[in-house]
Symmetry: C2
Subunit: 151 residues, 2 copies
């Protein structure tokens, strides 16, 4: 019999990301009620890379395009961002952080920074880097193996 799911590295990965998300979500909602962690992170990205399309954002966050559409909608409803159709390519939308969105960012950024520090407390740069490299290898394997198995 093969090992139980709970004994694998995949389980540990899942546990780590869910713990972090639950933690971060809680702290962020504390600062800005009703906001989700993903909305805060997307807001950061839009602010820093205003030229990204919805597709780009979807890929960055590993989300379905439909999902992004609805997330963007909900962020517009909350007045965090605006959306206008790009005049050079009318299929695209230009997404822009509003004043309200900037206010939210101002409140949320220090929380995010603190969250990161708290969760990584006691971990050396080296071990974080190593863990990242290992995870990246797994991602690479996924990409390669999908292709191999398909052919």
């Amino acid at each position: 019999m093969i090992g139980l799911p709970t004994d694998t590295i995949f389980y540990k990965i899942e546990k780590a990301i869910k713990s972090y998300r639950k933690f971060a979500q809680k702290q962020i909602q504390n600062a800005v009620p009703g906001i989700t962690l993903d909305q805060a992170l997307v807001l950061m990205i839009i602010k820093n890379k205003p030229d990204l399309t919805q597709m780009d954002i979807g890929q960055l966050f590993f989300k379905d395009y439909a999902s992004i559409t609805r997330m963007i909608d909900s962020m517009i409803k909350k007045d965090y961002i605006t959306k206008t159709t790009d005049q050079n390519d009318r299929r695209r939308s230009n997404i822009c952080v509003t004043d309200m969105g900037n206010e939210v960012l101002k409140m949320v950024l220090p929380i995010i920074e603190r969250n990161r520090a708290l969760i990584l407390e006691g971990l050396s740069d080296r071990e974080i880097e190593d863990a990242g490299a290992t995870l990246t290898k797994m991602v690479t394997n996924c990409e390669e193996k999908v292709v191999e198995l398909a052919s």
Copy 2:
């Protein structure tokens, strides 16, 4: 300005688990159409630890109890498992893998085994263990910091 979400270890963790899930989900559905990765993993756990309550299963998989109730329901509808109220403690349910569930397991286990091997190809036991230890430290931090911030 603090680092972009995409530059953090958290992002790499998320990317790794999502890649793995997408990969595994695809392979498993190939063998048993309509099944989800989580259903397959829960089936494995129930088979190996028949005494777990729904709450136990929920905690193991980091899922809301409501979520587990509905997942169990859906697995019953698919004839993978049965549920009977425990006669010693009538609040609890005893969950049992059906013949159909065992058939599914038989088809799915080799796939899961292969998935793991493929995704971990080229990674040493040592580095997997180290990465796991790092992730576990993060989980511990989450647990500790939640308590500290609450008090």
